[in-house]
C-alpha cells in the first residue's frame, strides 16, 4: 500500500477502529517500515484525537431543568388545545408519507376500476334485457309493429 492510501486510512478507519483485521495488519506493517507515516499517525493521535477524546462530558447548569419545565408548563397553559393537538399529532403522525400516498393511490385506482366495471356491466345487462324483451315480443307476435298480421303474409314468404 502506498503512503497516501495509508494516511487516508489513518485519518479515518484505522484511527476509529473500523478496519478489518487484514487491512489493519497491513497498515501496521507499513508503519513499522515507514517513519513518515508512523510520525503522521502519532501526531494525529497526540495533537487531534487525544485532546478530543479526553474532553469531559459537560453537564448543563442546574437551573436549566426549571427553565425547561417552565417552558413546557407555560406552553400548555397558554393554549391547552394547541399543546393537546401537538401531542396528538405526534401520536397520529403519518410515519411513512410515501407509503401512505402509494396505498391511497392503489385504493383510488381499485375504486375507479371496480366502479367503472360495475357501470359497464349494468349497462350491458340492461341492453341484453332490452334485446331479450324485443325477441320475446317477436316470438309472441305482439311486438311494436313487427307482427305477421301487419303485413298480412307469413314471414317465410318474404324470404322464399
Amino acid at each position: 500500500m502506498r503512503c497516501s492510501k495509508i494516511r487516508e486510512l489513518v485519518l479515518t478507519d484505522y484511527t476509529d477502529g473500523e478496519l478489518n483485521e487484514r487491512t489493519r495488519v497491513e497498515v501496521e506493517a507499513h508503519m513499522r517500515t515507514c517513519e513518515n507515516c508512523r510520525r503522521f499517525e502519532a501526531r494525529l493521535k497526540s495533537r487531534v484525537s487525544d485532546p478530543l477524546r479526553k474532553a469531559q462530558r459537560l453537564e448543563p447548569p442546574e437551573y436549566l431543568w426549571s427553565r425547561i419545565k417552565g417552558a413546557i408548563e407555560e406552553r400548555a397553559k397558554e393554549n391547552p388545545l394547541t399543546a393537546l393537538k401537538e401531542r396528538l399529532e405526534s401520536v397520529l403522525v403519518v410515519r411513512r408519507p410515501a407509503l401512505a400516498l402509494a396505498s391511497l393511490a392503489v385504493i383510488l385506482i381499485a375504486a375507479v376500476f371496480f366502479t367503472g366495471t360495475f357501470i359497464e356491466r349494468s349497462r350491458l345487462n340492461s341492453y341484453i334485457e332490452e334485446q331479450v324483451d324485443f325477441l320475446e315480443t317477436l316470438n309472441n307476435g305482439n311486438g311494436n309493429g313487427y307482427t305477421y298480421d301487419d303485413i298480412g303474409i307469413p314471414m317465410e314468404d318474404l324470404f322464399l
Binding site: E8, L11, T12, D13, T15, D16, E18, R39, A42, R43, L44, S46, R47, V48, S49, D50, P51, L52, R53, K54, A55, Q56, R57, L58, E59, P60, P61, L64, W65, R67, I68, K69, A71, I72, R75, A83, E86, R87, E89, S90, V91, V93, R95
Partner: protein
C-alpha cells in the same frame, strides 16, 4: 412530569455536550438543550422505536444545534466575519501536553470552532461521544461514506492547524 425529569437527568449530559460542541457557545447550548427537551416532551408519544431512544435524541440535538449555529452565523456574517466573533486559541508548544481539564477544554473548543458545523457534528459524535460510523450515519441521516469524508476533512484541517511542532 416526574418521569420526564428522569429522562432529562439521564440524557441532558450528552444533549448539552453535543449542543455545545456544535454551537461552540454555552448560551446557545443551553437554548438548544431547552428546545430539544421541549421537542422531546411534545413528540415522545410519536417515538416509534425504529431507532434507539439515544439515537433519536442525538438526531434532534444535532439538527437543532446545526440550525441554530447556521442562523447565528448568517446573522453575524451580515455584520462581521464569524472568525472575529469566535475567539481562536492556538495552543502553546509546551502547555498542550499536560491535558489538564481546563486547558484541554479550551483547546477542544478552539478546535471545534475551526470546523464547519457538519464536520463538528461528526467529530463530536465520534470523538467525544464515541459513536461508531454506522451510528453517526443513522443519527445524522447520512451515508457512512459521508461520515468518513467529513471526519477526514475535519482531521486534515485540524492537523494543519494543530499538528505542527517539534514533538509528534
Amino acid at each position: 412530569m416526574e418521569a420526564f425529569e428522569e429522562i432529562y437527568r439521564a440524557s441532558s449530559g450528552y444533549v448539552y455536550t453535543v449542543a455545545y460542541g456544535i454551537t461552540a457557545s454555552r448560551e446557545d447550548a443551553e437554548e438548544v438543550t431547552q428546545d430539544v427537551f421541549v421537542k422531546i416532551y411534545r413528540k415522545l408519544g410519536g417515538f416509534g422505536f425504529r431507532s434507539s431512544f439515544k439515537t433519536w435524541i442525538y438526531r434532534i440535538t444535532a439538527n437543532t444545534a446545526i440550525n441554530r449555529y447556521r442562523k447565528k452565523a448568517k446573522r453575524f456574517r451580515r455584520e462581521r466575519p464569524l472568525d472575529e466573533v469566535l475567539s481562536r486559541v492556538i495552543p502553546g508548544e509546551k502547555g498542550d501536553e499536560k491535558f489538564d481539564a481546563d486547558h484541554n477544554r479550551t483547546l477542544v473548543d478552539s478546535m471545534l470552532k475551526s470546523l464547519p458545523p457538519d464536520q463538528r457534528a461528526c467529530v463530536v459524535l465520534r470523538e467525544i461521544e464515541g459513536l461508531k460510523y454506522e451510528e453517526i450515519a443513522r443519527t445524522l441521516e447520512i451515508k457512512i461514506n459521508t461520515v468518513k469524508t467529513r471526519l477526514k476533512r475535519a482531521r486534515k484541517k485540524l492537523m494543519t492547524i494543530y499538528g505542527k511542532g517539534e514533538k509528534p
